[in-house]
């Protein structure tokens, strides 16, 4: 089967399935699934840039997604003036001291010739510096966190519309990726995996515990939205009249009171649908833009170069290509795309909750998407993201139903039946693993394999 046929078939089947959900469950459920599919698609594209283009095994996806989330929160939240007043000056001094310490350490590292003396000086600078920073930093944190802890207790953010945060989330992720890349990209591939896994855990730990910055585990809820609120729509005369026109034939036959009630129900239901559609539009625009850029990049001379590096680093280096630099570039690009997706996700949730970031959901699930969809193939990654997210969500009702059916012949109160019913939700992980292993084994390229000129 040719790739384009597979693509048409794959997306075709996906949309039919999605439509069936809309028809049998509800349009709201369908759109909720679809919106997360779109976000997952962007995230999978980011992973595909790193793995498919350059063979970088980054298991720190979760960290970059969370950075995007932080960006969304910090961008949209209004600054908390009282907190700045309470701890701003000390925080500023602490930042200044940090810069000085880093400057001194770097200068010492560069200027002093290697000797035991050098190590001693370095340790001294860092040790003394650490306590100097803490002297200013600790009281600042205490003051900020004591400022109305039940409702605020953090510095707040910039107070600009949340839609800008998508770009800022990308920048955040890119910045940290630069730092990590500088440190870890020189490592062998599986060490890079372990290092990124560890670093992403550190990032989450910081977000959970630095309350003065992110409000930590107390979460920040009620973030702004780039789209209208359902309640506002339900009050808006424009929206009500639109619904009235749209469903005129369904409403016409009814009595005055019945019509009123039916219209009210429709307005409430479709206000929710409308909001989700707005999100879908925004997410789709981002997904298509990123996808287009990815496709163009891969087809460009730059794309040929990075694939040449991936396939044979030694000969590419011999041809004068700067392998390390390209790797860093790709690592940053891919992470930035994941960061954008992370910011979109937090925007959709409307709240920033650091404890939701779990490696199984935000790192390994995304990897399954890329591998199943087709590593190296942009469209394939998106398709993989759509299909896997769909399975992930619908596995719960299906698993329950399956277990009900299997156990229907057993005694209703038997221990085995109860055990099987209770365990249904764990089938999710099992199914994901089996799907991933099967695809890797029998179709290593995924559903839509990478197109290569030679093979």
């Amino acid at each position: 089967m040719s790739n384009s046929l597979r693509a048409v078939l794959g997306f075709g089947v996906f949309f039919v399935l999605l439509f069936l959900v809309g028809f049998y469950q509800s349009w709201n459920v369908m759109l909720a699934i679809f919106n997360l599919c779109l976000i997952s698609g962007v995230m999978a594209l980011g992973v595909n840039i790193q793995w498919g283009y350059a063979g970088l095994f980054n298991v720190g996806i979760m960290g970059f997604a969370a950075l995007g989330g932080v960006a969304a929160m910090l961008t949209s939240r209004a600054p908390v003036a009282s907190a700045w007043q309470a701890g701003g000056s000390n925080l500023f001094i602490a930042a200044l001291v940090t810069l000085i310490v880093i400057g001194l350490a770097v200068a010492a590292y560069r200027k002093i010739r290697p000797s035991p003396m050098k190590s001693l000086i370095m340790v001294l600078i860092i040790g003394v510096g650490y306590f100097a920073i803490r002297t200013y930093f600790d009281p600042a944190v205490l003051a900020i966190e004591a400022d109305n802890p039940a409702k605020s207790g953090f510095l707040g953010g910039l107070g600009v519309p949340i839609i800008f945060s998508w770009a800022i989330g990308g920048l955040f992720a890119a910045g940290i990726a630069w730092l990590i890349g500088k440190i870890a990209l020189g490592l062998r591939s599986d060490y890079l995996a372990i290092a990124t896994l560890g670093i992403s855990e550190i990032l989450i730990a910081v977000m959970k515990n630095e309350d003065w910055l992110t409000r930590g585990v107390k979460n920040v809820s009620g973030l702004d939205r780039p789209v209208p609120y359902e309640l506002a729509l339900q009050e808006s005369a424009w929206f009500i009249s639109q619904i009235e026109n749209l469903f005129s034939n369904r409403l016409d036959g009814l009595s005055e009171a019945g019509r009123e009630l039916a219209l009210r129900g429709l307005v409430v239901e479709y206000s929710s649908v409308f909001v989700k559609l707005c999100y879908s539009g925004l997410f789709l625009a981002v997904l298509l833009t990123v996808l287009l850029l990815c496709v163009l990049a891969l087809a460009s001379p730059w794309g040929r170069m990075v694939r040449a590096i991936r396939d044979n680093e030694v000969s590419a280096a011999a041809m004068g290509k700067d392998v390390t630099r390209r790797h860093l570039q790709i690592f940053i690009l891919g992470s930035a795309v994941v960061g954008i997706a992370g910011a979109m996700l937090t925007t959709l949730d409307g709240q920033f909750t650091p404890s939701t970031y779990q490696p199984l959901r935000y790192t390994f699930l995304i990897w399954v998407m890329v591998i199943v969809g087709g590593s190296g193939n942009n469209l394939g990654s998106v398709l993989g993201a759509f299909i896997i997210w769909f399975i992930w969500i619908e596995a719960e009702p299906v698993g329950n139903w399956l277990m009900q059916t299997i156990t229907s012949t057993l005694e209703p109160d038997s221990g085995l039946r109860r055990h099987l019913l209770d365990s249904a939700q764990h089938m999710r992980l099992f199914i994901m693993g089996v799907v991933m292993l099967t695809v890797m084994r029998f179709s290593p390229g995924g559903i839509l394999p990478e197109r290569t000129a030679a093979r």
Binding site: L9, G10, V13, V16, L17, L20, V21, F23, Y24, Q25, S26, W27, N28, V29, A32, I33, L36, P149, A150, K151, G153, K208, N209, D211, G216, V217, K218, N219, S221, G222, Y229, E230, L231, Q234, L261, V268, E269, S271, S272, V275, L345, D349, G350, Q351, T353, S355, T356, Q358, R361, I387, F390, I391, I393, E394, E396, P397, V398, N400, W401, Q425
Partner: protein, 397 residues
């Protein structure tokens, strides 16, 4: 593969499809059936379903309607999964109201993203975060459990009465633990107490020796544990006893459970704790009703609150004379507060009669429900002490 997918989705669609029946009213129950408090939630759901059954069996609800519970999993931590479950219940199963959710974080997510926009009333039995007092709920969010701001105060007062002026605090690293630790710290300090250290612990780790080491080093004889009974909290207590770091514990509601005593044993004797609830007539009545209804337990944590949450929505439905979502919301305050005839657990049939004839009720329920202006229980707390391997109520505060 694809065919399999297709088939499975069609099935999913079928099972999810709602069969509208004139006699059925669906009510959602969203609790964390998996996740950190999965050992508490089955009993909570059972208590809520008991209230629904009681009303249905009386055949007096809106001329014989039957309340059918629909469960959804909030996972307690993952707001995306919780929102998805709520979305399914509200838009696909068409529930009239939701008993839930449980943990404060996911409750906020559901209220903001699904509940309030769709105009669905939510009554949470156990979301106790102080932050929920001020969310923009447009009057659709209620809770039958008091805010943790109050629990912190009660705990501080108990310690003051006992003459304990120095404690170490450890809390589970989430919004519940942190919020409670903050409110306790504020109240305890204003009572003149000293907190030697306030350190978080992460749930789901098996080794807590570093945490206990730091807690013990700060120098206090009493350790306040604000965590969950089948999570890190238990590990902290176990390690503290093993190393001889602490022998006296102060527990908040999440830590109260018989499984704790079963796991730790006699060393817990003398431990102090608080739990929302009261020793009122209603609480005693609830135990009878629960036993008669064949429930596994009759006094688990948050079970009375769950029963009350479901009962309130049912009564509001009757008062409004309709199953319309907005109508329920408009009547809930009325049935919960005075004036009217006091209603205890097991008297739902009587209440439905009174409401039908146009009378007024003041639902007391199992947990002494009285809503404040923002729709949350003012709440009383039981002061508990472990005596001879059992939690015993000392008094109600």
């Amino acid at each position: 593969m694809k065919k399999l997918l297709l088939a499975s989705t069609m099935l999913a669609g079928l099972t999810g499809a709602a069969f509208a029946d004139g006699h059925e009213v669906k009510m959602g129950i969203i609790l964390g059936f998996t996740g950190p408090i999965e050992s508490l939630t089955p009993d909570m759901a059972a208590a809520a379903e008991l209230a629904m059954k009681e009303a249905s069996d009386s055949k007096k609800l809106l001329d014989g309607k039957v309340v059918v519970p629909v469960r959804g999993d909030s996972t307690c931590t993952d707001s995306a999964a919780a929102t998805a479950a709520a979305e399914r219940l509200i838009t696909s199963d068409n529930v009239v109201g939701i008993m839930g959710a449980d943990c404060s974080g996911v409750t906020t997510a559901i209220a903001n993203n699904v509940g309030v926009p769709n105009g669905v009333t939510m009554v949470s039995p156990s979301a106790t975060s102080p932050a929920l007092t001020t969310i923009e709920d447009k009057g659709f969010f209620f809770r039958t459990s008091p805010s943790d701001a109050r629990q912190g105060q009660v705990l501080a007062d108990i310690l003051k009465d006992k003459g304990i002026s120095k404690v170490a605090v450890t809390y589970t690293n989430n919004d519940y633990g942190k919020g409670l630790a903050d409110s306790f710290a504020a109240a305890f300090k204003s009572n003149g107490g000293e907190i030697t250290i306030s350190a978080a612990h992460e749930d789901g780790k098996a080794d807590y020796s570093a945490e206990v080491g730091a807690l013990a080093a700060a120098g206090a004889d009493h350790l306040a544990v604000f965590g969950y009974v089948d999570q890190g909290g238990k590990g902290i207590i176990q390690t503290s006893l093993d190393t001889g770091a602490f022998e006296n514990f102060i527990l908040a509601d999440g830590m109260i459970g018989d499984s704790l005593i079963a796991a730790i044993g006699d060393d817990l004797n003398g431990t102090i704790g608080t739990l929302p609830g009261s020793e009122s007539e209603g609480a005693a009545k609830f135990k009878e009703v629960a036993t008669a209804g064949g429930l596994k337990k009759n006094d688990g944590p948050f079970m009375p609150e769950s029963y009350d949450a479901a009962a309130l929505m049912i009564l509001a439905m009757q008062a409004a004379g309709s199953t319309d979502r907005a109508a329920i919301q408009s009547k809930i305050m009325e049935v919960a507060n005075a004036p009217g005839e006091k209603i205890l657990p097991g008297e739902l049939g009587k209440a439905l009669d009174i409401l039908k004839s146009g009378g007024a009720v003041d639902y007391e329920g199992a947990s002494n429900v009285t809503f404040s202006e923002v729709g949350e229980a003012a709440g009383s707390y039981k002061e508990l002490e472990v005596k001879a391997g059992k939690f015993e109520t000392i008094k109600v505060r």
